[in-house]
């Protein structure tokens, strides 16, 4: 098993797993954001690879992708940022979040070479469902890489059982149908669904899609092992794009986002694990 997952994720029940887009708005900002997130208690980072056609994503992440693509970000370049994060103190696992077409173009061999070179810990492919992922599951195993699986409220019991059985890292529980994006409230049936997943999963269960308020985090705390926060953070980044791009204002911009995060995950009463 991947060591960083063992240390920072396994067995925990206060997981905070933030999602940021590589290169949004710049490589340097991405590194600084990752470090800040670790400081605020992140247990792993989902590093989103910008894509022209992000089918599972809502408008906030779509816009972030466009910002990153405009500066020429790619899967390979994104993976090459990770060692720079590590150099500057990042210890938590980094999960590459990429659409399948980008993986296909890079090629399996090259991808895992980069995984090994760059100390990458996990892979999440939103459009590679369980049925199509066997081969990639194997390769990930061989490379000590977690392949994060998703389950949704509409996932049948049969599939849920099969997916949970093979899942590594943590099980990503989609809170609602549709795409990523912030939602003000969850449907009550979601909690039954999370209970069901929890009961079947041998590994931590984290809930994502729409987490954007401390109240949600507090509620979810009772049902699962953590939250994945994407659009809510990316929207903060979007609001600070100018600040993040400019060296002089970067710290201030990051601190803005930091205080948002601090508030958001306050129900977890996290200790700072670094710095």
């Amino acid at each position: 098993m991947n060591k960083r997952f063992e240390k920072h994720v396994d067995g925990r029940s206060d997981l905070f797993i933030p999602f940021i887009v590589a290169g949004d708005p710049t490589e340097e900002a991405t590194i600084k954001l990752a470090l800040m997130l670790q400081e605020e208690g992140a247990n792993a980072i989902e590093l989103g690879i910008p894509y022209s056609d992000p089918l599972a994503d809502g408008p906030v992440i779509q816009r972030a992708s466009i910002r990153a693509l405009e500066h020429g970000m790619s899967l390979e370049k994104a993976m090459n940022i990770v060692p720079k994060m590590r150099e500057r103190g990042l210890e938590i696992p980094v999960i590459v979040f990429t659409y399948y077409n980008l993986l296909l173009q890079l090629g399996e061999e090259r991808f895992f070479a980069l995984v090994r070179e760059n100390n990458i810990d996990g892979l999440l492919v939103p459009d590679l469902p369980f049925e199509e992922s066997e081969e990639w599951r194997e390769s990930c195993k061989m490379n000590d890489t977690a392949l994060i699986s998703l389950v949704a409220p509409t996932t049948s019991d049969k599939r849920l059982t099969a997916i949970a059985k093979e899942a590594t890292g943590f099980l990503y529980c989609v809170s609602s149908l549709g795409v990523t994006g912030t939602r003000t409230d969850f449907h009550s049936s979601v909690f039954e669904f999370i209970d069901r997943v929890k009961s079947l999963s041998p590994i931590p269960v984290a809930v994502g899609f729409g987490v954007s308020a401390p109240e949600q985090v507090a509620k979810l705390k009772e049902y699962c092992d953590g939250v994945i926060v994407g659009s809510a953070i990316v929207r903060q980044i979007e609001a600070q794009v100018d600040g993040l791009t400019n060296e002089e204002t970067q710290v201030e911009a990051i601190d803005h986002i930091r205080s948002y995060i601090r508030d958001l995950i306050s129900p977890y009463e996290k200790l700072k694990i670094n710095t």
């Binding site: 899967l75 173009q105 459009d127 469902p129 949704a152």
Partner: protein, 395 residues
């Protein structure tokens, strides 16, 4: 050629499959099961064929293009007249089938994507006919270019949803339609317009379009020597080719070569694309080196798609079907020739197939035959044609 495609996983050789978010898997499973049941239900199929006949006006005839054949001095060219369908193209065959399935599944709403608006009009049409609510996603750029079709959809009672993500055209409208569908799968049916998308869509659309080829086989006295159809996503071509796959008939699919393959501005997915995933299916697609999907170019909005149906990728790889490219200008020439020789203004899409027939006919014997799928009528394109041919046609 005797293995059945797709297989259980929705694969055509190494193409096809279901590359969609987990949130969409349930909807696909539900669809697959309902589709199998429906196709095995005689009453359902009878309904479908009844609507094709009494609503859309099928069977569409086959017209012998005698003047054109004479002028070319080679093979006899026959036209399968899909332009005579209600709403003006083959698109309605499929829309009728899927809408009936949606009703059978108890869905109350349909959602569809559209580029030029032809499939959107077909979807809006069947929604009206079968009492479904209808949302059509359409790129903002396309809405601007296709004002009349937008109005037709609205007149039919559909809501046209402007898409401003990405390049604001067909591929983005498709993304948005899928996103909407996934979020509303309980009461909403996603009505795809071509043999693309995740399994079972490519198979379903083929099976609802095969009426083109089935009728043609029955209507032609002898098997044609060649069958030619244009390929955007590939639904009219699949519908036409499928019933001929086991026969000794040459099959030719024609992609849009746009301004010329070497200009980079084209939609020639099979010859210039690479393997990848688009809209849930592994197939060929136009993309840059790192895998970002590229905007295609074709004068015909209906061929302006960066991917191609997975079964075409398969038929190309097995060699059963030959795929060629026709440029914007060649298509316009063919359109003009057919208008003047036979009094039929074809859709610019269909003119691509025709142009290939015009190229090939002179090298064939006078007693050989080419069957061309005339997938749609050109009325929708008159504005585009005016812009390009204006000077030439006007005296």
């Amino acid at each position: 050629m005797s293995t059945m495609v797709p297989d259980q996983r929705g694969r055509y050789g190494r193409f096809g499959g279901k590359y969609v978010p987990e949130t969409a898997m349930y909807a696909l499973e539900e669809l697959e099961q309902s589709l199998d049941e429906a196709m095995a239900d005689e009453q359902f199929m009878a309904n479908y064929h009844e609507e094709l006949k009494k609503y859309s006006g099928r069977p569409t005839p086959i017209t012998h293009a005698e003047n054109l054949s004479k002028r070319l001095g080679g093979a006899q060219i026959y036209l399968k007249r899909e332009d005579l369908n209600h709403t003006g193209a083959h698109k309605l065959n499929n829309a009728i089938g899927q809408a009936l399935l949606a009703v059978r599944m108890g869905k109350e709403k349909i959602v569809a994507e559209t580029g030029a608006g032809q499939h959107g009009v077909a979807a809006a049409t069947v929604a009206a006919r079968f009492g479904l609510e209808c949302k059509v996603f359409m790129g903002k750029e396309d809405i601007r270019r296709q004002e009349l079709n937008v109005f037709r959809m609205k007149l039919l009672g559909a809501e046209v949803v402007p898409v401003s993500s990405g390049s604001k055209t067909l591929k983005d409208a498709t993304n948005e339609a899928i996103r909407y569908w996934v979020a509303n799968v309980e009461d909403t049916f996603y009505l795809i317009g071509s043999v693309v998308g995740p399994h079972p869509y490519p198979k379903m659309v083929r099976d609802f379009q095969r009426v083109i080829g089935d009728e043609s086989r029955e209507q032609m006295e002898d098997l044609p020597n060649k069958v030619i159809a244009c390929v955007g996503g590939g639904s009219n071509a699949m519908g036409m080719f499928y019933p001929f796959l086991q026969d000794d008939v040459q099959l030719v699919g024609v992609e849009a070569a746009g301004k010329g393959i070497h200009t980079g501005e084209h939609a020639a997915t099979l010859s210039e694309g690479r393997l990848g995933v688009i809209h849930g299916s592994i197939t060929y697609l136009l993309q840059n080196e790192t895998g970002q999907i590229q905007e295609p170019h074709s004068i015909s909005a209906g061929l302006d798609y960066p991917g191609i149906g997975p079964e075409h990728a398969y038929l190309s790889e097995t060699g059963r079907v030959t795929y060629t490219g026709i440029t914007d200008m060649e298509a316009l020439d063919a359109l003009k020739v057919l208008s003047e020789e036979e009094g039929i203004i074809p859709a610019i899409e269909s003119a691509h197939a025709l142009s290939e027939a015009i190229k090939q006919a002179p090298d064939m014997a006078k007693d050989e035959t080419i069957l061309v799928c005339l997938s749609g009528r050109g009325d929708k394109d008159v504005h585009t044609i005016m812009e390009h041919l204006g000077g030439e046609v006007d005296e």
